[in-house]
């Protein structure tokens, strides 16, 4: 596609001037903090003036702190639950919406996507009220579905056992339609001729999905898998607001980033916050690489 005789020129100083603001800001406000966070992780600080070196003690404390264990368990549980429930639901809705006979696709797409516009903080505030134990909207639905009027006073957010289900439900409401958009875009790129050829060969719906659709949309599946896992591991605002600016009963809604915020910023120990940050970053990197490696193998089949 590139023309043989390229008109692309150096442009003199222009490109340097164009990238200069970015490079400058990026070095000062991204690269420097990343390097600095590595240093900070080995200090205990109370306020910016008072740093004392502690070696690996931040990490040692972190690894034995029951609150951190709780935060990791909660975050991982949430991530597995949302990814396992969310992605099939998103893909399923996208498959339904991409049926050619269906009318009103755009309206459905808009409706399914709309919860995502609210943002985690506002969704948290709204759902805290929807989960209200006395006659909240969720309990109205819950009592009706279970046909048990006593369920109208279920304390979703007041009981450690139901905090996580409430959190996962809220997250599904917010993100299923969002991820559906990616699948929908991917499905539009699937080769229709290949589909018809498979149909002529007598392949059933499921066989065509496995042989034609799935390989074509696999890169997007990988993208959605990795981005929603990374997003879930960084969960903070949704449970924080849902639980009224707390980590919930018995820390049932404590996440890794909430732990970082409470133990790093509330107490003013930026060194400890950096140690938590690095632990999270390394965990995320390992998980995303593992996901890409595993899903890459499946995709080649």
């Amino acid at each position: 596609m590139t023309p043989r005789r390229s008109y692309r020129v150096g442009g003199g100083a222009a490109p340097y001037i164009f990238v200069a603001p970015f490079v400058l800001l990026f070095l000062v406000f991204s690269v420097y903090p990343i390097v600095q966070s590595f240093r900070l992780a080995f200090y205990a600080t109370s306020g910016p003036q008072d740093w004392s070196p502690v070696g690996l003690r931040n990490f040692a404390f972190l690894l034995q702190d029951p609150d951190f264990h709780k935060a990791v368990t909660n975050t991982v549980t949430y991530t597995i639950a949302t990814v396992l429930l969310q992605l099939p639901l998103s893909l399923g809705l996208a498959l339904l919406l991409s049926q050619k006979w269906l009318k009103g696709q755009n309206l459905f797409r808009l409706i399914f996507f709309s919860p995502h516009l609210l943002g985690q903080v506002f969704v948290g505030v709204l759902f805290a009220v929807l989960f209200q134990p006395k006659y909240g909207l969720v309990n109205h639905a819950y009592a009706a579905i279970t046909m048990n009027p006593a369920n109208i006073t279920t304390k979703w957010l007041g009981d450690p056992a139901t905090v996580m289900p409430a959190l996962v439900l809220t997250s599904l409401w917010m993100y299923v339609g969002f991820n559906m958009i990616y699948f929908l875009a991917a499905l539009q790129g699937v080769d229709q001729e290949l589909h018809e050829a498979a149909l002529v060969d007598g392949a059933g719906t499921l066989a065509r999905f496995r042989a034609v659709t799935l390989p074509a949309i696999w890169p997007v599946c990988q993208f959605v898998l990795v981005t929603s896992t990374m997003g879930s591991l960084q969960l903070f605002e949704l449970p924080y607001l849902l639980l009224g600016n707390t980590s919930g009963p018995d820390n049932a809604g404590l996440t890794i980033v909430m732990y970082l915020y409470q133990n790093g910023f509330a107490s003013g120990d930026l060194g400890y916050a950096s140690a938590v940050g690095w632990t999270l970053a390394v965990g995320m990197l390992v998980i995303s690489l593992a996901q890409l490696r595993m899903s890459g193998g499946v995709g080649k089949e």
């Binding site: 420097y32 409706i111 609210l118 006395k134």
Partner: protein, 269 residues
């Protein structure tokens, strides 16, 4: 076949109801007196505006609204300008160090923002920018994601178009301003909306950075109201609705561009 289609439409309708009902309940609840918020579900027997008057009189909610609007609009202008400018340079020029810049950008994509919260706070404290809007806006004036998006769309601009501009005596910045920006309008629309939403909904960093109450943005203000006015459900719901309305309106205006921009990175990249 017919049964399958009816089932499919049934699922889609059920999904639509589940998606919309919380928002419908929210809108209705804002018009109920506070002691009646949970007395009815999808009706409003005695509509009142008391929650809205409470909202704007008990807390400086208008100030919060203005703060969020100012911050989001400024962030959009800064990010669109600097990201598209850098994206243009990376898409259409060959220069020394280009590969290095792209390499460093890619390397930082994997690093979660929470890692740099503490050192960034430390840095901004030393620059005396804590509790200022400059402290929020300057570090966020460029976005790596934005540069990638703009670069990707600008690579497709024909070099001949730029060369024609040069022959007409256009300066390099003139090319960017008069040729490149106008043809990048769909991407500008998409990226503006994404930046607006991200800034508008941003919580953790502003919460750490802003200490004076009159500088609060809507998410921080609302989070504080949740603690202070726990039982004032009507007012909290009114605050939530007022806070999400601007994003919804903007989205409806820029919907097409947004979906195109959102999926551009995933599908083509």
């Amino acid at each position: 076949m017919k049964i399958l289609r009816i089932a499919a439409i049934g699922i889609l309708l059920l999904g639509s109801i589940l998606a919309l009902v919380p928002m419908i309940w929210l809108i209705l609840a804002t018009f109920r007196a506070n002691d009646r918020v949970f007395s009815e579900v999808f009706t409003v027997t005695k509509p009142t505006l008391a929650n809205y008057t409470d909202l704007f009189t008990t807390v400086p909610f208008f100030q919060f609204l203005a703060n969020s609007t100012f911050l989001a609009c400024t962030a959009v202008c800064l990010q669109v300008f600097f990201s598209s400018l850098a994206g243009f340079a990376l898409a259409k020029y060959d220069f020394q160090g280009k590969k290095l810049v792209m390499g460093i950008m890619l390397a930082t994509v994997l690093i979660p923002g929470q890692l740099t919260l503490a050192p960034s706070y430390d840095l901004l404290y030393r620059m005396h920018l804590v509790d200022t809007y400059q402290g929020l806006l300057i570090p966020g004036a460029v976005s790596v994601f934005g540069i990638f998006l703009f670069r990707q769309s600008m690579v497709r601009i024909p070099d001949e178009l730029l060369q024609a501009g040069r022959i007409d005596g256009c300066s390099e910045f003139g090319l960017y301003w008069n040729v490149v920006l106008p043809v990048s309008r769909p991407m500008i629309g998409a990226f503006s909306l994404m930046t607006f939403m991200a800034t508008w909904n941003s919580f953790l960093w502003p919460q750490i950075m802003l200490h004076s109450k009159l500088k609060y943005t809507l998410p921080i203000a609302l989070a504080q109201m949740v603690g202070l006015y726990q039982q004032q459900y009507g007012m909290l719901m009114a605050g939530t609705l007022v806070a999400v309305l601007p994003v919804i309106v903007l989205f409806l205006l820029l919907q097409k561009e947004f979906v195109a921009g959102l999926t551009a990175g995933a599908v083509k990249g």
